[in-house]
């Protein structure tokens, strides 16, 4: 019996699952901040596309934000569109390409500030697209400014003392608005701040895409993601801060599911 040498690494070296790059990424290099939740959320989307065998028929429409980098490094036919307009652009794409899996990727500034009109109408028209909202309650790409989902008390560069209802009004819960619209078949909100939430969120994304391919109507998954830079909190506190601020304000879960 050969004895194992405990003073050297095993041959061949064990492979850590966490370093495995998904096929749908052309590169795993990006410039996002340490602690950013977007790469985690995007990973779930890519893994789901592969699981559902949609890799060769997906079209991605991405808005403007830090997450646009996810579009750039992904191996998906992509269109970068005007701020807020992704659901309208997706409408034109899906109507001409009904067999494609059409996804929109927007942040809260893009969808809920600039593009509230577009997403509500796409839902009303029951467009068979899946709209993804990566919501971190702040305009991260421009340096950390208030959006329509910034929570009360959150400091940003345009609400330095913390968002205050009398001065800045209240955040909008777009998922709740969409859940009331008949054309919306599936509306859910997840988060990526804990392993448990990550698993739940992946199931939401999967459900949304399955329903799109079944022609059920408009599907929507909001993912609460971390932005420690925009939130002015230390990197490592991002996940906990998300729970205390965004989850506290908006909650998570499936807000609307198809009957039966």
């Amino acid at each position: 019996m050969t004895t194992v040498d405990i003073h050297a690494a095993p041959e061949p070296a064990g492979r850590r699952v966490a370093s495995f790059k998904p096929d749908l990424l052309q590169s795993s290099e990006h410039d996002l901040c340490p602690g950013c939740g977007h790469p985690v959320a995007w990973r779930l989307v890519l893994d789901t596309l592969v699981e559902l065998e949609l890799s060769r028929r997906t079209i991605l429409i991405a808005g403007h934000g830090c997450y646009t980098q996810m579009m750039k490094i992904s191996d998906l036919d992509s269109l970068q569109c005007l701020h807020g307009r992704a659901p309208a652009v997706a409408t034109g794409v899906k109507r001409m390409m009904p067999d494609a899996a059409v996804l929109t990727l927007q942040g809260d500034g893009d969808m809920v500030s600039e593009g509230l009109h577009e997403v509500l109408h796409a839902a009303a028209r029951a467009e068979n697209v899946t709209a993804l909202l990566f919501n971190n309650g702040v305009f991260g790409d421009t340096g950390g400014h208030m959006t329509a989902t910034t929570v009360i008390g959150q400091r940003t560069k345009t609400s330095l003392e913390g968002r205050d209802a009398t001065t800045h009004g209240y955040p909008i819960d777009v998922a709740r608005l969409l859940a009331q619209i008949e054309g919306a078949a599936y509306v859910a909100r997840g988060a990526v701040n804990t392993p448990g939430m990550i698993s739940r969120t992946q199931r939401m994304i999967r459900r949304a895409l399955e329903l799109q391919m079944a022609g059920a109507g408009f599907t929507f998954v909001e993912v609460l993601t971390m932005c420690p830079t925009g939130w002015f909190v230390p990197t490592a506190s991002g996940p906990e801060y998300l729970e205390d601020s965004m989850m506290e304000t908006f909650g998570v879960g499936e807000l609307k599911t198809p009957p039966g």
Binding site: L24, S55, M96, H121
Partner: protein, 362 residues
């Protein structure tokens, strides 16, 4: 086929459909509304999609999405609605996506909007201004061709009169020649997961496997493309202008009135002709310089406070002979050209201009 009585909006809709348009969207707004109604009625039967958009901003962006898949797509509005589409038109241009935008103008001749645009960046739109419904039917099909040929948004400049007038007409399908394939850029999802996924992005950065030229080189290339179009796609028409002392310059519906008055005044022995830009952009600079050479007076008749006259001044060799004889003119509804769209009024203004500059010392 025998001619049928068709409203302009109806004939244009048929022309768009025979040209292969399969996606149309818009927001009802007079005098664009009938075009939307006609497409809503006819496009689905032709295998296309017509959506009543909830806003003009939605419309231009939906149309952009459809165009990105390689489909022939169109949208439009009146000048007020096209104002909201400016960002979208610029985005189409800088993404090199083809689209036909139908501007059905109200009372004012929106020359600046249709040739300068209010979007960002260095872009132009090929803009055709038909004078009547038969020309509108030809231009509609030509615009779909030019949009695909050059990968650019283009503008059909129509108005209340063209949209609402009815004439006997037969819409014939026209072939303007071969076009490059869209396969290498149009998105259909099939290149996803192959390592060579396509991407449409105004910053043209590409993806890691297929790096792009970046915004600088991409926009330089696009600017060069428009410079080339400017050289090669100028179109215009002159009427009885050979040796004319007086030249009247106008575009669109207005030019029909001008040519009628030119005939009447010629009967009286007045030395007069007309010049009509057909492409508002690229403005027919060469044609205009030739036509105005040696004229005693160049009278610009447009129904606005003076827009096309700027281009006439820029390209005529002798600026001193140029005068504006048009003006702002709205009818009481605010939706249509007013009292200046009138042959009698035009004749009066031409006579006055001729008399004033024939006087001693001028």
């Amino acid at each position: 086929m025998a001619p049928r009585l068709m409203q302009g909006s109806d004939a244009v809709a048929d022309a768009a459909i025979v040209a292969g348009c399969r996606f149309f969207t818009g927001y009802p707004m007079l005098p664009f509304t009938e075009l939307l109604e006609n497409m809503a009625k006819k496009l689905p039967a032709a295998g296309g999609v017509c959506i009543n958009a909830e806003s003009e901003i939605e419309a231009i962006n939906m149309a952009l999405g459809a165009a990105a898949t390689g489909a022939r797509a169109a949208t439009g509005s009146c000048g007020q609605g096209v104002s909201l589409m400016q960002e979208g038109i610029a985005e189409l241009a800088l993404n090199e996506l083809p689209l036909v935008v139908f501007t059905m103008a109200r009372g004012q001749q929106d020359y600046f909007q249709s040739t300068r645009g209010g979007g960002w960046g260095d872009y132009r739109t090929i803009t055709l201004a038909p004078r009547d419904i038969p020309e509108a039917v030809v231009h509609t099909q030509l615009l779909f061709h030019l949009a695909d040929l050059y990968r650019t948004p283009v503008i059909f400049y129509g108005d209340y009169v063209i949209a609402h007038t009815s004439v006997g007409i037969d819409v014939e399908e026209l072939d303007f020649g071969p076009l490059p394939s869209k396969d290498h850029w149009a998105l259909d999802g099939t290149m996803s997961g192959t390592g060579q996924a396509r991407q449409i992005w105004t910053w043209a950065r590409g993806k890691p496997n297929t790096p792009g030229p970046g915004p600088n080189q991409s926009w330089v290339t696009i600017a060069d493309k428009y410079a080339e179009i400017e050289r090669t796609e100028q179109r215009y028409e002159t009427y009885r202008a050979e040796g004319a002392e007086t030249l009247v310059v106008s575009f669109g519906t207005t030019s029909v009135f001008v040519d009628r008055v030119v005939d009447e005044l010629r009967e009286e022995g007045v030395s007069i002709g007309s010049f009509r830009p057909i492409t508002l952009w690229p403005f027919p600079t060469v044609g205009l310089a030739e036509a105005t050479r040696g004229c005693r007076r160049v009278l610009v008749y447009e129904l606005n406070a003076g827009q096309m006259v700027d281009d006439v001044r820029m390209y005529a060799e002798d600026r001193s002979v140029i005068r504006s004889i048009g003006g702002v003119s709205q009818d009481t509804s605010g939706m249509r050209q007013g009292d200046l769209l009138n042959a009698d009024e035009l004749r009066t203004r031409i006579r006055r201009a001729v008399a004033e500059s024939t006087a001693v010392g001028s």
